[in-house]
């Protein structure tokens, strides 16, 4: 087996192992959490018999190991159980919200990633001159302001005063793509501002690091202009760290949009999770946790795979 295939197989196996461990942590964590779902369903005035009956019905009394494996095998087949509070099938309830979250994250990434890399390249080209300093200042300012504040400020000026985009990001299946994009324009803008600085600064640092190399001098002495040097010679060698930070931010876009979804009343997974945490609906919390973990691990795995593939020594062994 060639070394690169072995490395990739190792990396993928490691990710699966990690996901398995996380599932244990999520399950154990939700068990030790205080609170009693039966109590929260029936309310304070419930009789002890009624509570005991409901607990037996919900399977809360079974040994934890047995419940874990039942849950794990169910999850592997796409059965995430039923919500305790509403009796709904979780997988069904989640799927449309999960796609909504991915939809928002995808379009935020489409805007943010190329913009961040372009600004990073621009900052390198004008290193320590005013464009570099201005890019740094603006992106740092935007990351320092809490995202809900940016959300409300944009809402006030752009939605209420200027009336360019709607302030509430309501989407449903009957809307066309253009209508949907129009609805989520403001959340995309906020998310972009939040993730831009990190990616842009990492791109700048990675490329500047490569710019110290002797082969950059060779390229300059070939008479190439500054953008050719950066784009052709520095960028290909800076891919691995850039992809790494991009993937981390993509994971944040999927997992961390809870606040934005609440601010803009967007029907995504984050809002669903928040609702059910407050109701102590354990299966829903477990299911959301597992999906978020899978997204995080999956994206980071992709970053590592790209890093392995972008190394010419591994791609073209002697």
């Amino acid at each position: 087996m060639s070394p690169i295939v072995k490395l990739l197989a190792q990396r993928i196996a490691l990710s699966l192992l990690l996901l398995l461990l996380i599932s244990v942590v999520i399950f154990a964590g939700t068990i030790v959490l205080p609170g009693d779902v039966a109590q929260s369903i029936l309310g304070q005035s419930a009789t002890p018999e009624a509570l005991a009956n409901l607990r037996a019905e919900l399977g809360v009394n079974d040994p934890p190991v047995q419940r874990y494996f039942a849950w794990l095998f169910g999850a592997m087949q796409g059965d995430l159980g039923t919500a305790l509070t509403s009796g709904q099938d979780i997988a069904q309830a989640l799927s449309s919200r999960f796609w909504n979250t991915l939809f928002l994250a995808f379009w935020a990434a489409v805007v943010a990633v190329p913009l961040a890399i372009f600004l990073g390249l621009l900052a390198v080209r004008f290193k320590d001159r005013w464009p570099d300093k201005m890019i740094s200042a603006v992106t740092l300012a935007s990351i320092s302001i809490p995202e809900f504040l940016i959300g409300y400020v944009l809402m006030y000026f752009i939605a209420v005063k200027l009336r360019w985009f709607p302030s509430v990001a309501m989407v449903n299946d009957s809307m066309g793509l253009f209508d949907k994009l129009n609805a989520i324009a403001l959340p995309i803008a906020v998310l972009t501002l939040v993730v831009l600085a990190h990616m842009m600064r990492m791109t700048r640092a990675a490329i500047l690091n490569v710019m110290q190399s002797a082969y950059i001098e060779t390229a300059e002495l070939k008479g190439l202009n500054a953008f050719q040097v950066i784009y052709r010679h520095a960028f290909p060698n800076a891919i691995a760290p850039i992809v790494n930070v991009v993937m981390l931010n993509l994971a944040y876009l999927v997992v961390g949009v809870v606040v934005i979804e609440v601010v803009f009343v967007y029907p995504g997974m984050g809002q669903y999770l928040v609702d059910h945490v407050s109701k102590r609906d354990v299966p829903v919390v477990q299911a959301c946790g597992l999906i978020f973990a899978a997204v995080y691990i999956g994206l980071n795995m992709i970053a590592d795979i790209v890093a392995i593939l972008s190394n010419p020594r591994l791609r073209h062994p002697k």
Binding site: E217, L221, G223
Partner: protein, 545 residues
């Protein structure tokens, strides 16, 4: 076009330096240098580090490395003063009229791109050739430079070819756009001597066949004598002597040039082996963890008290691995190390403090072998505390004694490594190892990073100290001149085996085995026409076989 291709007049170059704890300030590093270069001629720029030779070479492309700036004078290329041109004019010059070959091709090729893409890039970008013509030209150059499989080698990535091959690819890169001038900046310095000679010949023939002019920058006068028409000797940014190659080599006028020509003045009489060796390496076979092949095969050598054993070989010969085995950093697969009448534990962890004290080591890179935040006194005092428990005035007295022995003196006690020159740093490392009163010191390429005159001083010091302290040296080096200067016994290593072993006079006298012959005959000699003689001799021999 005028009959001078490159005309440099009163060139002044400055830089901003950042001394620790002080304000940055501007200094001048080249103080008004002038020379002319006619089309098709080769000018050698020679000097020690800090002489400004690379800086001058790059100035002919209007380039300043790091914070280096051209502050005055004129540089005329093909009748234009390039220092007066704007960015666009300079970009048109670079990679088209003037090209550059750097010391380390391995670092100067982009690891992420195929060799061919990089070789033709300048020619295509500067619109000298179409991509197709440039590739055809590159293949012709690959063949001319003696690269294997010239039709396909361009499809490889830089890490897939050897260092010597990559240096030739770099030469092809420089010649591909049909420039008028190539700046060769120490193009063979990083190569082994047996590789250097081939690359040198390839460069020389390529210069002759293409009629290109060249600036050839090196610290090695013997090398520059083989390729140049004229030579300029530089020292600390000033011209010391400027003349044709015959005059500089055979009739130098200035004291400094004479010293460069006659360097390696050390004479050292070979000592006969005494009865009991201090170190016996017995049947050592070793390999690195996780690899499938041995890097040392059944190595046997002896080192006698107060004598020097030189272990000589090229990169990959296993000479540094042998040092790692002796110090216990790499436990061998088979064999034993006997030291001072006892068998040493193969692993460093199993050795006593006495074992450690009696076997010291000095490294190639003196500046990374010292803690930059400790003073010279602390650095030398540490082994005195650690091995002998010395304190206070007793320790101070001994530190001063040691500083006197390495010819630096008491005033260096409170200095930091960053305030010392390369040679002074290596002297401090020597004092630190002597502080332990060892029976033996392993010297791993201790003079390789130093300029020839400075290296000479270090070797003389080591020989003097050997007489005073009666210490034995295991001297690891790739430099045969160093070996001649200091050794009593020599072991020639090749591919992990001891190829030839014995007293200095025996090892360095014929009849030779094939490898030792190749190695010895590859060392450049300070003689005009030496390169052609060796190549002609080798061709005759291979024709005879």
């Amino acid at each position: 076009m005028s009959d001078t291709l490159l005309k440099v007049r009163d060139l002044k170059i400055g830089a901003t330096i950042y001394p620790p704890g002080e304000r940055p300030r501007d200094i001048e590093i080249v103080h008004g240098v002038s020379f002319d270069l006619a089309p098709g001629k080769v000018l050698g720029l020679i000097g020690e580090s800090g002489a400004g030779k690379s800086t001058i070479g790059l100035a002919s492309m209007a380039y300043g490395r790091g914070g280096v700036k051209i502050t005055g004078g004129e540089v005329w290329v093909n009748g234009r003063n390039i220092l007066k041109g704007g960015h666009k004019d300079i970009r048109k010059l670079r990679g088209a009229e003037v090209t550059y070959v750097s010391q380390s091709a391995a670092a100067s090729f982009n690891p992420a791109k195929k060799i061919m893409d990089q070789v033709v890039e300048a020619a295509v970008e500067q619109k000298k050739f179409s991509r197709k013509d440039a590739e055809a030209r590159a293949r012709v150059l690959f063949a001319k430079l003696g690269l294997p499989d010239p039709d396909n080698i361009g499809e490889r990535y830089p890490h897939q070819v050897s260092g010597g091959q990559l240096q030739r690819c770099m030469t092809a890169l420089a010649l591909c756009p049909e420039p008028d001038l190539v700046v060769f900046d120490e193009p063979t310095t990083a190569l082994d001597v047996t590789t250097q000679i081939d690359v040198l010949m390839a460069i020389k023939e390529a210069i002759r066949d293409t009629g290109v002019a060249a600036l050839y920058i090196t610290h090695d006068l013997a090398v520059v004598a083989q390729v140049s028409d004229d030579i300029m000797v530089l020292r600390m940014g000033n011209t010391v002597e400027y003349g044709n190659v015959d005059q500089i080599i055979n009739n130098p006028q200035e004291e400094y040039t004479k010293a460069l020509v006659s360097v390696r003045s050390i004479e050292h009489e070979e000592k006969a082996p005494t009865e009991e060796p201090v170190l016996s390496v017995r049947n050592i076979t070793a390999r690195y963890k996780g690899t499938q092949f041995d890097v040392l095969h059944n190595v046997n050598v002896d080192l006698y008290p107060g004598q020097t054993l030189a272990v000589v070989g090229e990169s990959g010969s296993g000479k540094s691995t042998l040092a790692r085995v002796i110090t216990g950093l790499l436990p061998p697969r088979e064999g034993e190390i006997e030291f001072a009448g006892r068998t040493l534990s193969p692993d460093l962890k199993g050795r006593t403090r006495e074992d450690l004290r009696e076997l010291q080591m000095i490294y190639q890179m003196a500046d990374v072998a010292m803690n930059p935040r400790q003073t010279v006194g602390t650095i030398i005092g540490r082994p005195l505390e650690f091995y002998f428990g010395m304190r206070g005035s007793e320790k101070k007295k001994r530190i001063i004694e040691l500083l006197d022995e390495i010819e630096l003196g008491e005033k260096f006690m409170d200095r930091y490594p960053a305030e010392l020159s390369g040679g002074q740093k290596q002297r401090v490392c020597i004092a630190r190892s002597l502080a332990a009163k060892p029976k033996m010191i392993i010297c791993d390429e201790v003079t390789s990073a130093l300029d020839p005159l400075v290296a000479d001083g270090i070797l003389k010091l080591l020989l003097d100290l050997q007489k005073i302290e009666d210490v034995a040296y295991l001297f690891i080096t790739h430099d045969l001149a160093t070996v001649r200067a200091i050794s009593d016994n020599i072991a020639v290593m090749y591919q992990g085996k001891v190829q030839r072993y014995g007293g200095k006079s025996k090892v360095l006298s014929p009849p030779f085995d094939d490898y030792t012959d190749l190695l010895l005959s590859s060392v450049p000699e300070m003689k005009l026409g030496w390169l052609e003689e060796v190549i002609a001799h080798r061709k005759m021999e291979s024709a005879g076989n």
